[in-house]
Structure formats: C-alpha cells, structure tokens
Symmetry: C2
C-alpha cells in the first residue's frame, strides 16, 4: 500500500507541529505502508519571501521570484526528514530537480507535464519515507517554476498518479468537505464522499478546500483524494469518481465573496458586440465568470458579467475606455455582490431544484441579481451583506444537515 500525503504550511508552521505531522506519518509507516509526503513552506514563509522580493524590486521577474519562493518548501522537506530521522525512521527529502517534476515554462503558474518516478521508487524500495517539495517544478531550461495557487495539492495528486498510489491524502485545516461553510451554517454536514465534478463546481464557487487544478488532475488520472484534518483525528471526505449508489440530489452550498459585477448598458443589438467586449477582457488575461445578456429593449441590450474582485478595476477601465467603440450608453461596476452556488450531480434529473432554491431565497428576503446554471450547479448573485442569510436558507431548504437516503 502506497500513500501520498500532503500537508499545508500551517500544518508544519512550528517545530511542535512538524513533530506532530512526523508522528502521523510514522503511524502509517508502522502499518507497513510506503509513504510519500508533499510539504508546503512552513507557516508564512512564502509571504515573507514575497515581501523580501518586493522590498528589492516592486515588479520582480517571475523567474527570480520562483527561484526565491522554492526555497521555502525545500526547507520544509529537509527539516521534516531530520525530524523523522530523530524519531528513528529512514527518510529522504527531494526537490523538484531531484524527483524530477517537469513543468511547462510558465513561471509563477506552471503546469506539471511529466514526473520521473525512478528515484522516488528507488528511495521507497530502500525503505525511506520520501519527502517532496510541493508547489514547484523544473522547466525545459532547468529553471525552477512554481505552480501557483493550490500548487502543493496538485503536486500531491500528480505524484499519486505517477506512482499509482493507492490513496492521496490532503491534510488541511478543515475536517473535510462540508455541505456549506461551517462558519455560516452551524449544522453544515461533513460529506463522506463527493464526485470530482461536484467538487470542481464547489471549488470554483468558493469552497476553498481543494483547488480546481488539483481536482481536475485527480479526475483525469482517477486519483482518489481524501480530504482530512491535520489537527483532528477523524475520517475526512473522499473525492472520487461518482459511485454507483444512488446520487445525492445536491452535495453542498458554496459562497464566494470575491466577486464584482460589471454592467454594460445599452449596447446596440448587433452581431459581434459580445465578442468585441469579451475579447477585450481576455486579451488582458481577465477571466469572466457569470455572463448575463438582457432581452433587448428596442435595438439595445445590456450585458452584465462578473469577475474576481481584484480584477474589477482593470476590467472596468478597459470597458470604459472602449465604451464609445462598443456603442454602450453606460458602464457600471459594483463590488457589493457575492455568489451563492448550489452544487450536486443529482440536479440534472431534478428539474425542480432551481425553483426550490429561488423559493428559499425569496423566503429569506434575499434579492437575486443574476442567475447562472450548469448541469450540476446553480449560481446566483446576491448582495454581499445577504450572502450568509442566503447560504443558510438554501442549506436548510435542501435539508443538507440531514443524511441523504441511500448513503
């Protein structure tokens, strides 16, 4: 049995926590398992390194930033190897060069392309616990790259796929995936398992447990992920291919406050206008989430869309600059909005789900600003100060606090 484990920065932030994680690893070693551990940089190390970089250069090159940041994980794995050795166990740390973890050439948000397994396998065969730096790779120039947000999770899933591990355990500061954010909804329930697609929708709608990239990779290579707590000893949530047992109608409610809405009002109702608008934004690398086009009044239409809050100003400036060319009457931008999403593979076959959701929001006096639906997700835009009411209302409506039947 081969297990890949991943611990985040807060799990290894202090010497005590490093020793705690080491003990957890040893428990599984004592069961006879082979263990590969992916670690992030300790605590706030990455933030501190970024601050040191910006002190020297307000616009540091991504290549050099990656060279700098990658040292954080290297320190983590070396210190963990020493800790395990101090406890009497064989361990060896490997960085991205040594594995090797090949990525494409994009600094700052590289994508893993190929992982060498010879050395990993050799170290495991020698009886070593293998500690691998998360979040980083090496590109074709032999330069160090980092994988961007969710990078260490992605490293763990990629290693699990390459090594054909029996399980990939992602340790976090929560106990698993919940039907809603437990900070908002007191009776939110931890899910025993969830399908990849539902997890993807939850992740992209603001449930920060796992990053999309890591779930996508897990789905692609069919790696079973277990999300569990590094602090509390309890079963977590399995993220896996949809099981054969009866599907839950909905798996959870997620909220995302990192949203801004931009409205372009009174565009001439001519072909090519929507393309012109969104082409401007994609050229600047701005991702657009929900898009809504109003039914035309006379020969005009309105297009509203949402972007991440940090892109709001830039997106607004771009559209404003091209207002005349687009022929729009007005451009507005607001950050006082949030997105609430209901996710569940069972929605496809349950046409009443959207209606039930809207009913719950209406009962809670929550005004819906925009609506977007996919096969397994319904997202609504609401006022930011109503987001918690909205999540609670929807969570209650679908009885997510209770176990579904057939599970």
């Amino acid at each position: 049995m081969l297990i890949v484990k991943k611990y985040g920065g807060s799990s290894v932030a202090t010497p005590e926590r490093v020793r705690n994680v080491a003990s957890q690893i040893i428990e599984d070693v004592e069961k006879g398992y082979q263990i590969v551990v992916v670690l992030s940089a300790q605590g706030k190390t990455t933030d501190e390194l970024v601050a040191r970089a910006y002190e020297m250069n307000p616009k540091p090159s991504r290549r050099e930033l990656d060279m700098l940041l990658s040292t954080g994980e290297q320190q983590s794995v070396a210190l963990m190897a020493m800790t395990l050795q101090a406890m009497g166990y064989q361990a060896v740390s490997l960085n991205a060069f040594q594995v090797p973890m090949h990525t494409n050439k994009t600094y700052g948000s590289a994508r893993l392309e190929a992982i060498g397994t010879d050395r990993l396998q050799a170290e495991l065969d020698c009886g070593n616990i293998v500690l691998v730096t998360g979040f980083q790779g090496v590109n074709r120039y032999e330069d160090i790259t980092t994988l961007g947000r969710g990078g260490s999770d992605t490293t763990a899933v990629a290693l699990a796929a390459a090594l054909q591990a029996d399980r990939c355990q992602i340790y976090t500061d929560v106990e698993g995936v919940y039907t809603a954010d437990p900070r908002y909804v007191k009776d939110a329930r931890k899910l025993e398992e969830i399908g990849y697609d539902e997890m993807l929708e939850l992740a992209s709608t603001g449930a920060k447990v796992l990053h999309n990239r890591c779930v996508e990779m897990a789905k692609k290579y069919n790696v079973q992920i277990e999300v569990l707590s590094s602090m509390v000893k309890a079963p977590g949530t399995l993220v896996k291919e949809d099981s054969l047992v009866e599907r839950m109608m909905v798996s959870g409610v997620a909220a995302d406050k990192n949203v801004a809405r931009i409205s372009v009002i009174g565009i001439p109702d001519l072909p090519g206008k929507a393309f012109a608008l969104f082409n401007l934004l994609s050229q600047q690398g701005i991702n657009v989430d929900i898009i809504l086009q109003s039914i035309g009044r006379e020969d005009r239409k309105d297009i509203s869309f949402t972007v991440a809050e940090e892109n709001a100003e830039e997106a607004y400036e771009i559209v404003k600059k091209h207002q005349q060319a687009l022929g729009a009457e007005e451009v507005t931008c607001t950050k006082d909005v949030a997105k609430v999403s209901l996710v569940g593979a069972g929605m496809i076959s349950n046409p009443g789900v959207a209606t039930q959701m809207f009913e719950a929001l209406y009962s809670a006096q929550v005004n819906i600003r925009m609506i977007s639906t996919s096969e397994i997700k319904i997202s609504v835009l609401v006022d930011k100060d109503q987001v918690e009411d909205a999540v609670r209302a929807v969570h209650h409506q679908f009885r997510l606090y209770k176990k579904e039947s057939g599970r």
Copy 2:
C-alpha cells in the same frame, strides 16, 4: 574582460547592502565587463538554519543539512538578480543544479570536481549578469552538497578557472592581506601582492582572509585573486604566482589563538612509538600541527604536539587512555598557548631570519614554548597572554610597516 566577484554574507546582510553591492557590480558592467557574481547566504542565515535543524534533530544527517543550508545562497542570488533588474540591468540567478557545479559525494565538506560552463557562457552571451550560489554543489546522486568552510571563495575561484576569467575578486570585511592583524599591530601594512604559497602559510597560521582550499585551487589553476573590501573603495591585495621582481624577505606575521598543546612525557626511546601515538590521533580524524620531540634523556623521550583548541579534550582523552600502552610517564594538556608565525618566500635564502625573530621575542620578554620551521614559515608557540606582544615585536623587527625595497 570577464570578472568573477564573490561577496560574503555580511556584504549582503541587509537590503541596503544588497543595493550597495548591486551598484558595485553595475560599475563594472558599465565598463563593458562580463560579470559572474558568487554570493553567500545573507548575514546570519546559515547559522539560523543550522539552529532550526538542531531544534528538530540534535544530530541531523549531513545530506539533509546540506539540503537545508543550500537554500540560503539561493535566496541571496534570486534577491540580487531582482535588485539588479530593478536598477535596469539584465541578470539571472543560477544554483548548483543549474550551472552545474559537480562535487564528490561528501556532504558537508564536498570538493568541487567539474563545472559545466555552457549555461554560464550562454547567459553571459545574452548580456546577463550571472549570479551563482556559493558554497554548494551537486553530487553523483543529484543530491545537494555544501563545500564547508571557505566554500563560497572556493566556488568563485573554481568558476574563474572554468570560465578562464581575467580576474577573481573576493570581497571581504577587510581591505586586503596585511603584514599582521591590524587589531594587534596599528601600523600593519596592506600588501599589494602576495604569492600563493605565502598566502597558504598565512591562511593556515591564522590569517582568516582567505581559506586554504580556495588558495590551493587558485594556485593549481593559476587564478589571480584580488582580495578587497566590499565597504571601502580601495585597491586590495593580489594573490598570484610569485612575481619576478625581487622577493620580499617576509610578507607578514600571523597569530592563531585556537591552539592547544599536549605533551607526552617519558616515552621509552624505542622505534614505532611516535607512529603509535599519531596513528591513534589520525584514526579519530584529529589533525596535529606542530610536533616536537625532545632529545632523549637516558632511554626516554618527550613528544609534544599542538592541535586545534576544539580537539584538545578529545586528543588528550585518547592519549591518556593509551598512556600505559605507550609506556608514557605523564600526559599533560594546556590551552594557554598561541602560535605566532612569520611567513615569507624570502626566508629560504636568508638564514638569519629565525635568529632575528627569536631576538625580537627575547627583547619583548616573550618566552618561546615550541618552534617549527618550513621553507617559507617560522612558527613559535608562546603563552596566550603574550601573543599580541609577540606579533608587535616581530612585526617591528622586520620593519613590515615600511615598504620593502624593490616593490
């Protein structure tokens, strides 16, 4: 013109100092020179990393310690590259993997074996200032090694040799090589140049300006080293092959307080006894410096030797344990001694040098405990509390404060 520069940890300890070093580098870039810069870890970074290692494991494995320590230099080079870029210059940082700097497999005190120059040359050809991590290498297992004491100086000299650089500049916290330690001797003079052998003798006798390994490598590959200050703008000292101009009789006086003397008294005057004694010590990896054997009285002899102070207890214990087997009457150990050495290639042809040195010490009422001579060095052991008097007396005797003729 290609110059390799090396800056130590104190030269890059703060953001201000990093910017200061960057400005110095840029001055030479503006002259049209190609520049490779070797950097140590910033300030006390290495010490802090060692402390963190020992907190997790009182006996950390050297492999993992090297993995950890190497991150310090990597941070230095990345931050310097960003700083140079902020000032408008092209720069790129490279670690030991990327150069590559191949070493033997000995962790903690690896020896450089081969340096790849393709990437270095390519980066220089692109117009980059190239920043290379000092103190580290990669061994045949693709593991990170560190070079031990004086490691970054050695990296710089090795790179200068591999790239056939025109000069190798080692920036330190002193302005060059002096005729004596300026803290002891106020009128000590900075040397314009010194030969490799003399520098080696000075280094091994306690002048900490350059480490022996780096001078040995410079001699082997005939790399001209310039030792100069990173703080004060002034010509330094050239370390090079002996020049053709008339040789100085003596180049300097060095003091080493890190000395202990062990005396083994009353050993039977039989063959093999000295071998037996020093074999015991070398088996434990203890280096012996000066050895003195007294003329036998009757059928007995005394053997005294010096070791580094930190090895004194261990050496004493070893000899004491075998006192009976050696047939010795008594074993004593004292740390109240220091070594004063006079170094100069001219000594060979000036037989009166030793006499003059002893005369100076006698005049200063300094008692000589042991004497050892080589072709270009005379070392004496004196009481520790007399070491500064001894250095001043010898320095004065040989008029080192004045320029020698012919230079």
